[in-house]
């Protein structure tokens, strides 16, 4: 290898390292601070898990944690059902109306969160729906649907259109044909879409902030409220937990997608 090539590769690596440092240094710092015994953030007072322990003894935090998980589970499940139905409906449409509908369903994802949040809040107030768990849930379902659709659609397009007919041909009723053949065939897309929706719901702050009412907090809104009052080290611990959870979930999404991709490629080579 020539010197120039080595040097070019060195620069590339340096550049990537720089990007990672800018992206992850703050989070890295946050995670380290969550183990810092000293209440003053300025110096290292020794390693402790104390902040994590007191976090789990904080009733408000645990309630927000419960809300967050419940929201994420219900909203991603509902979004998966609606999104799957939408994909099937859209794939039977003609080209033009399909593109139109896809664009429409993508709006909540592309739109600035703050606009989505404010407009949902206005809608709920106009309809005189009391802000609380229900409204936050509706909001989360709304912004989760496009993630589900975008994960399932490519999978569904690759599906052999005759799979459903083959099942009918072999004696299955339309319902059996769907649940026994079509659904398992697109399952990887549904799983990754659902996981992504779960993640989105888990770490959403802005939309939740605008659509929630008194007494209803999720972990992100709880952190925001606490930080406004003054920094409590427990919040570092909480943020660290959320970050690790989201990171883990996104890695799972990738694995599901890669797994189905590899399987498909193996099929094509054969």
């Amino acid at each position: 290898m020539t010197n120039e090539k080595v040097r070019a590769r060195g620069w590339k690596r340096f550049y990537i390292a720089l990007i990672f440092i800018f992206m992850y240094a703050p989070i890295f710092l946050l995670i380290i601070q969550s183990f810092n015994k000293s209440k003053s953030r300025g110096h290292w007072g020794g390693f402790t898990l104390g902040w994590y322990v007191s976090l789990f003894h904080d009733a408000d935090v645990m309630k927000a944690f419960g809300n967050t998980i419940l929201l994420a589970v219900i909203s991603s499940l509902v979004a998966v059902v609606i999104g799957t139905m939408a994909v099937i409906a859209m794939s039977r449409m003609k080209m033009k109306s399909r593109q139109l509908w896809l664009a429409v369903t993508n709006v909540p994802m592309l739109n600035a969160d703050i606009v989505t949040g404010v407009s949902l809040m206005l809608l709920f107030i106009t309809l005189r729906i009391e802000l609380g768990f229900g409204t936050v849930l509706l909001a989360h379902i709304t912004f989760n649907i496009p993630y589900v659709i975008l994960n399932i659609l490519p999978r569904y397009r690759e599906l052999n259109p005759h799979i459903y007919e083959a099942a009918l041909d072999l004696g299955a009723t339309p319902a059996q044909a769907f649940f026994k053949t079509v659904l398992p065939e697109i399952a990887p897309g549904i799983t990754s879409g659902g996981l992504m929706a779960f993640t989105m719901s888990l770490d959403d702050f802005i939309i939740t902030h605008f659509t929630t009412g008194a007494g209803m907090a999720t972990l992100p809104t709880k952190i925001y409220a606490e930080v406004k009052l003054g920094i409590k080290p427990e919040m570092y611990a909480l943020s660290a937990i959320i970050f690790v959870t989201v990171l883990f979930l996104l890695m799972m999404v990738n694995r599901v997608q890669e797994g189905s991709e590899n399987k498909r490629k193996a099929g094509e080579e054969a």
Binding site: H162, E165, G171, P174, P184, E185, A266, A270
Partner: protein, 357 residues
């Protein structure tokens, strides 16, 4: 002839403004290997899908063993389909794919196991039970698709261009296997293809279709040797397809040269089309044949040589095991029996496809 099994009565089908099938009637008998043959867009696949129950005809009826099944959904028809791209369930292994129909019908586990083993044996895939279908080759996937259909003991197996995706050698092997399979099972095969060689090799009956009409129906020999119109003659195999004049019974003239034939009843001095298969053109010494010409092209084809012979400006294609070099002056002779006279097409639908090729 065996008992009638499927009867199509006056089937028409349009998609939007395009008419795909136009008042088509057809009878399929028990234990028959029938092939629907035609260029793409001729309506053959639509016809198969109507029989399978995946499309509804706009008009007409489908009768199965005397019963009207026109409105019966596919899952309640006693027939199974082998789809063009196999349509295997990729989330199941080979055995689960084959067992699908039987487990839907809630058969006992031991019955299913027996049938799956029998089907695997029949298509030569013993020991493949637990392979992933995505890991199989095209030919193996094809066999799974066939096994998956036949375990349900259908009265009729519908096959939609099942060999189209396979390479030539494998395709030829599978043709023989399909014939054997049909004989073993003793059921009716309805086969769709655009490959005339495939149709000639396997079928008991060939139905040549074009533009939603049946152009001709008959045994492979009849279709090949006695095409009823220029479309059929041109679509089935290589042919010399010439305009000619029917002078009187048993005598025609091609570009002024008179040939004896065996056909009668086309009138007197009437314009007709004639077809002569390349292997039926006999090359003799110049002056000893009916007409003379010059060899303009010589190609070695393996089994035979293909020669083009220029006769008074018209090109004759000729197959022979003995080559004649380019430029040689030769005579041409045709056995009267090998000249097939056809009436001129009366409508566009009957016209040869050469025009748009």
């Amino acid at each position: 002839m065996n008992k009638e099994l499927i009867r199509l009565e006056h089937i028409s089908k349009s998609f939007g403004t395009k008419t795909v099938l136009d008042d088509l009637s057809l009878t399929i008998h028990e234990n028959e290997f029938m092939t629907l043959l035609g260029p793409s867009g001729c309506g053959k696949t639509t016809l198969l899908r109507i029989i399978g129950g995946f499309e509804m005809p706009d008009t007409g009826r489908v009768l199965f063993a005397g019963q009207d099944i026109t409105n019966l959904p596919p899952n309640r028809r006693q027939l199974n389909t082998v789809f063009q791209n196999y349509a295997l369930f990729t989330h199941m292994d080979v055995a689960q794919n084959i067992a699908f129909g039987l487990s839907i019908k809630k058969k006992s586990k031991s019955y299913i196991d027996d049938k799956v083993n029998y089907a695997l044996k029949l298509v030569g895939l013993e020991g493949f039970e637990h392979r992933q279908v995505t890991r199989l080759s095209g030919g193996q996937q094809q066999r799974v698709a066939i096994a998956r259909a036949i375990v349900n003991e259908p009265k009729v197996l519908l096959l939609d261009e099942p060999l189209a995706a396979l390479d030539l050698k494998l395709r030829q092997d599978m043709q023989y296997e399909l014939i054997q399979l049909k004989n073993e099972l003793g059921i009716t095969f309805l086969y769709v293809t655009h490959d005339q060689q495939e149709a000639l090799t396997m079928s008991d009956t060939i139905v040549v279709m074009n533009q939603g009409y049946i152009q001709q129906m008959g045994s492979p020999e009849a279709i090949y040797n006695e095409p009823e119109n220029a479309f059929v003659a041109d679509f089935i195999g290589d042919s010399n397809l010439f305009p000619a004049k029917f002078i009187r019974d048993e005598l025609i003239s091609i570009d002024g040269a008179q040939f004896k034939c065996v056909d009668r009843g086309f009138g007197e001095n009437a314009p007709v089309d004639i077809v002569i298969r390349p292997e039926d053109v006999e090359i003799v010494e110049a002056g000893h044949g009916t007409v003379d010409g010059n060899v303009t092209d010589l190609i070695f084809k393996g089994v035979h040589y293909e020669m083009c012979i220029d006769v008074a400006g018209r090109e004759w294609v000729c197959h022979s095991t003995r080559p004649h070099i380019v430029g040689e002056h030769v005579g041409i002779e045709v056995d009267p029996f090998n000249i097939q006279v056809m009436k001129k097409p009366e409508s566009e639908d009957e016209e040869a496809i050469t025009a748009n090729e």
